[in-house]
C-alpha cells in the first residue's frame, strides 16, 4: 500500500465515500435502513476504514446512530 503510493504520487484512491455523493441520502436518525448498513451484527458501528465513509460523514453517522438507539429504532447491542 505504501509502496503503491510512493510509486504513484498523484494516484487517487478509487474508493470514494458512499455518503458524500450529491445524490446520496442524507444521514438522519429516521433512516434506519441506511444506518443498519453501518453497524455490525453486534450492533456496534463499523469503522470508516471498512466502509470508506469520509470523516465528516462518519461523525454525522455517529450522531444519527446514537439518536436512533435512544429512540429504540436501533439496538445498543445484539446477541
Amino acid at each position: 500500500m505504501i509502496q503503491a503510493q510512493t510509486k504513484k504520487p498523484y494516484f487517487r484512491n478509487s474508493r470514494n465515500c458512499p455518503l458524500s455523493e450529491p445524490d446520496s441520502p442524507p444521514v438522519d436518525y429516521k433512516n434506519v435502513k441506511l444506518l443498519q448498513k453501518y453497524i455490525s451484527e453486534r450492533g456496534k458501528m463499523l469503522p470508516s476504514r471498512i466502509t470508506s465513509v469520509s470523516a465528516k460523514k462518519q461523525r454525522e453517522l455517529a450522531i444519527a446512530v446514537k439518536r436512533a438507539r435512544f429512540l429504540g429504532l436501533l439496538p445498543y447491542l445484539q446477541k
Binding site: 438522519d28 429516521k30 435502513k33 439518536r67 435512544f70 429512540l71 429504540g72 429504532l73 439496538p75
Partner: protein, 113 residues
C-alpha cells in the same frame, strides 16, 4: 423562531385516541405560546429494538415544531410529567424535510429484529 423535530414514544397499552389526545395537548401548549406545528406524523405502533420500561412496542409520533425555546421547555415539562410517555427527543434543525419522512414509507419501516 427555531425549528425543532420532536419525537415521543408512548406506552404500547394506550389507545390511538389517547395518543391523539397527548398530541393535541402538546399542540395546544405550542399554539397558546404563539408557536406553530408544521407537521404531525404518527409512525404507528412499532417494535422497539430493546425493551424500554418493560415495553416491547411503542407508539411513535413526530412533530415539526416552530416555537421559541421557552415554549419547547414547557412542552418538554408536560411530556416528562406524562407517565404514558416512555421517551422523547427534541432536535433543533436548520430546516424541515420536504414531504413525509421515511418512516411514513412502508418499505423503509421494517424495523430491526
Amino acid at each position: 423562531m427555531p425549528l425543532y423535530e420532536h419525537v415521543y414514544l408512548a406506552r404500547q397499552d394506550i389507545t390511538n385516541q389517547q395518543v391523539e389526545s397527548i398530541t393535541k395537548s402538546i399542540e395546544d401548549v405550542v399554539k397558546n405560546e404563539g408557536g406553530s406545528i408544521d407537521r404531525i406524523e404518527y409512525w404507528g405502533l412499532r417494535q422497539l429494538a430493546y425493551k424500554i420500561k418493560k415495553n416491547r412496542k411503542a407508539h411513535y409520533t413526530m412533530m415539526n415544531i416552530n416555537a421559541s425555546s421557552e415554549t419547547l421547555k414547557k412542552v418538554e415539562r408536560q411530556i416528562s410529567l406524562n407517565e404514558n410517555i416512555l421517551r422523547h427527543i427534541s432536535i433543533k434543525v436548520d430546516k424541515f424535510e420536504d414531504g413525509p419522512s421515511l418512516m411514513m414509507n412502508p418499505r423503509s419501516t421494517e424495523s430491526s429484529e
